[in-house]
């Protein structure tokens, strides 16, 4: 029971980090990236802005996933080595 609780505590901490990163990521995407505009106006400006927003949002998405991946990796190998 104690062992299960200790596992749950660590894994729930990973979930909380993922939750915070999603909230922060959504804030960055919708408050910062989606507010981006270009100082000049041309026929191509709307397309450039739309593509830039999508690319930057995708970069935030990849950053989320890399943070989760790194944390899971560190957690797994630390626990496995300690167990050994």
């Amino acid at each position: 029971m104690r062992l299960a609780l200790s596992r749950l505590a660590s894994l729930t901490a990973l979930i909380v980090v993922a939750w915070l990163s999603i909230l922060f990521g959504l804030f960055i995407v919708f408050r910062v990236i989606f507010e981006i505009t270009l100082p000049w106006q041309s026929a191509l400006t709307p397309a450039i802005v739309a593509v830039s927003r999508i690319l930057l949002s995708a970069m935030v998405g990849v950053a989320w996933l890399l943070i989760w991946w790194k944390l899971a990796n560190v957690y797994l190998w630390r626990k496995l080595r300690r167990d050994k």
């Binding site: 990973l14 979930i15 939750w19 959504l26 496995l80 050994k84």
Partner: protein, 333 residues
């Protein structure tokens, strides 16, 4: 309590019972039929390696289609969203059946699962005004349909990847369905919770047969159909962000697996296993650097556990992330 909500709450109860009853009655029939047809799989996490009927998760799909049909007939629920939902889960189930009978390639499967999103987009049963925590409503007129086509296969496959053990899919998805009902009740939209309620009934009935030690497997047919159902209901119920939060264990598990094997791979294409069965029936995490990182491997990193204990931890983790979904809902008001 608001008395006008009472008829909706009664309809939730009725739809729950219909979903439960249909799935509970159909599952043993499907199990017998699949065994007769030789559609069976080996329960690799048992020392005696029993064979169990595959593809029985179709009973959940049948339970959901029956519930949706009765919702249209008895409660006169608007037909368009029900039709979009039924088509979406039927397409996902058909893809699952094709994968169960003759495995689809790992890169083709997510692509074809995207077709399950087409009825939602074509019938326009989504709102492009997404509510973001702290920021309020945002307009995503062009991007939203694209997100729908991406979200359905991602969620369906994430549910599929989170089903390595007896009762893992049915248990964690029951929690997700309950979370969906709670979110919609908290938002004051009980009438929109009838399909999540039918899904909860169907999943609990299926869990009766699929829980440890399982008598049936859900197969890709059941997993993809349930994943598509959850995605469709999150989109149609406009609870995308809280459901994204509730599904953190499923989404992170899928991403850990994909990134550690370097792309889309089927289980049979991964020779290095993340867990190993011990002689005492417990499972332990392998120390193989080439084996994929999965949620079950993370759970087992602290030491061996029985299969049902791992599933219990997965269910509690899903409940924890669903609670964070409730907290997120508060930030969305």
């Amino acid at each position: 309590m608001d008395h006008s909500a009472l008829p909706s709450l009664i309809s939730l109860g009725i739809l729950f019972c219909i979903g439960f009853a249909v799935t509970f009655l159909i599952t043993p029939l499907l199990a017998r039929m699949n065994r007769k047809l030789g559609i069976v799989g080996t329960d690799v996490h048992k020392t005696e390696k029993p064979t169990l009927p595959e593809m029985c998760g179709l009973a959940i799909t049948i339970g959901l289609i029956s519930s949706a049909t009765l919702a249209a007939v008895i409660f006169q629920v608007e037909a368009r969203p029900l039709l979009a939902f039924v088509l979406c889960i039927s397409i996902a189930a058909a893809i699952g059946v094709a994968d169960d009978l003759g495995p689809l390639s790992s890169s083709l499967k997510p692509l074809v699962t995207g077709t399950a999103a087409v009825p939602i987009v074509l019938l326009g049963t989504y709102s492009p005004y997404m509510v973001i925590p702290f920021l309020g409503t945002t307009r995503l007129t062009i991007v939203y349909p694209i997100l729908v086509v991406i979200a359905i296969p991602v969620l369906a496959n994430a549910i599929n990847m989170m089903n390595p053990f007896n009762g893992a899919m049915s248990g964690t998805c029951s929690v997700l369905s309950l979370a969906m009902i709670i979110y919609l009740l908290l938002l004051g939209r009980p009438s929109e919770a009838i399909l999540p309620s039918a899904l909860l009934g169907s999943l609990l009935a299926f869990h009766w047969y699929n829980r440890y030690p399982a008598k049936v497997f859900s197969g890709n047919a059941g997993d993809l159909s349930v994943g598509a159902a959850i995605g469709a209901l999150a989109i149609m119920g406009r609870i995308e962000v809280p459901m994204l939060i509730a599904m953190i264990p499923h989404i992170t598990n899928a991403f850990y697996l994909l990134s550690s094997v370097g792309g889309l791979r089927e289980r049979r294409e991964m020779p290095n296993r993340p867990t190993r069965l011990l002689e005492n029936g417990k499972l332990e995490a392998t120390e193989d650097g080439k084996a994929p990182i999965t949620l079950s491997r993370l759970i087992l990193a602290e030491g061996p556990l029985r299969e049902n204990e791992i599933v219990k931890i997965m269910i509690v983790m899903t409940a924890a992330s669903s609670l964070l979904g409730v907290l997120t809902l508060l930030f969305m008001r």
